[in-house]
C-alpha cells in the first residue's frame, strides 16, 4: 500500500482506495496482467511498475534469437497502469465493492526510443489530460530502471460503471 502519503496530506480524503484495491479491481490476469504495483496515485496522475518476466513465451518469437519486448506490450503495460488503474482510482466514489467497470481502449499514439529486454523492470508515469463523459485521456511515459525514457505518447479509453 502506498496510498497518498507522498502527497503530504493534500489528498487525505482519498485514502479510502489503496493501491491494492486498485489492483484487485483490474479485469486482467496472468498472462496478460502488466501491473506489479502502484507507487503513487492522485486525481491528476499515477505511477506504477512492472517487470517483464525473462521466460515470457513471446520472447521466443519476438524476435528469433533476439528477444526484445514488443512495443504493443509496452503500450499495453502503459494502458493498464496509466489509464485503467488511474481510471479505477478516479471512479472510486462510484464503484461498489466487487464491481469492475467496463473498459475499452479507444486510441493511442506512441513514440519508441530504446528497447526493453527480458527481465527488465519498467516504470509507467501517467498524467491525466481529460476525464469527461467517461473518456479518460492521458499523457503517458515509460522509463527503464536506469531512468531512461523508453517510450511516450497518449492513450485514451472509455470507462463506465
Amino acid at each position: 500500500m502506498v496510498a497518498n502519503t507522498c502527497y503530504k496530506g493534500k489528498f487525505l480524503i482519498d485514502i479510502t482506495m489503496t493501491t491494492e484495491d486498485i489492483r484487485a479491481r483490474l479485469p486482467y490476469q496472468d498472462p496478460f496482467l502488466f501491473v506489479d504495483g502502484i507507487d503513487a496515485v492522485s486525481e491528476e496522475g499515477i505511477t506504477g511498475h512492472y517487470t517483464f518476466k525473462a521466460d515470457a513465451p513471446f520472447y521466443k518469437g519476438h524476435f528469433k534469437d533476439n528477444p526484445i519486448t514488443p512495443g504493443v506490450l509496452l503500450t499495453e503495460c502503459m494502458a493498464q497502469i496509466g489509464v485503467v488503474c488511474l481510471g479505477m482510482y478516479l471512479l472510486k466514489d462510484t464503484l461498489q465493492t466487487g464491481i469492475t467497470p467496463q473498459i475499452a481502449l479507444t486510441s493511442h499514439q506512441m513514440d519508441f526510443y530504446i528497447p526493453v529486454l527480458p527481465g527488465e523492470t519498467v516504470t509507467v508515469i501517467s498524467e491525466k489530460e481529460v476525464f469527461r463523459f467517461h473518456k479518460l485521456k492521458c499523457k503517458v511515459k515509460l522509463m527503464n530502471a536506469k531512468g531512461e525514457l523508453v517510450c511516450r505518447g497518449k492513450i485514451s479509453g472509455m470507462l463506465s460503471v
Partner: protein, 84 residues
C-alpha cells in the same frame, strides 16, 4: 448571431476528423445521426463535445451529451447554450 448554415458549417468542420462513413458525411443533413450514419465511436463523440465547447466557448453537461445524437440536436443545444 450565426445563421443556421454558418452553424452547420462550423459543426461540419468539428465533426470531419472523426467521421468513419465519408459518403454519409458528404450527404449530411440536419437529420444525420452521429453514431448510426457517420459511424462515429463513443470516444470520438466525446472529442466532438469537447471541440464544440472550445469552438463556441460553452460548457456541456451529461444531459447535453446524451441528447446530442444528431446534427439537429447538436444545433439546438449549441444555440440554446449561446442564448444563456
Amino acid at each position: 448571431m450565426m445563421t443556421k448554415d454558418e452553424l452547420i458549417d462550423k459543426l461540419k468542420g468539428i465533426i470531419a476528423p472523426y467521421v468513419q462513413d465519408e459518403a454519409a458525411f458528404k450527404a449530411l443533413t440536419e437529420d444525420t445521426d452521429f453514431v448510426k450514419d457517420l459511424k462515429i465511436n463513443s470516444a470520438n463523440l466525446v472529442d466532438i463535445i469537447l471541440d464544440i465547447e472550445d469552438e463556441f466557448d460553452i460548457i456541456l453537461e451529461n444531459d447535453d451529451m446524451e441528447q446530442m445524437l444528431t446534427v439537429k440536436s447538436a444545433m439546438a443545444i449549441v444555440t440554446g447554450k449561446l442564448k444563456d
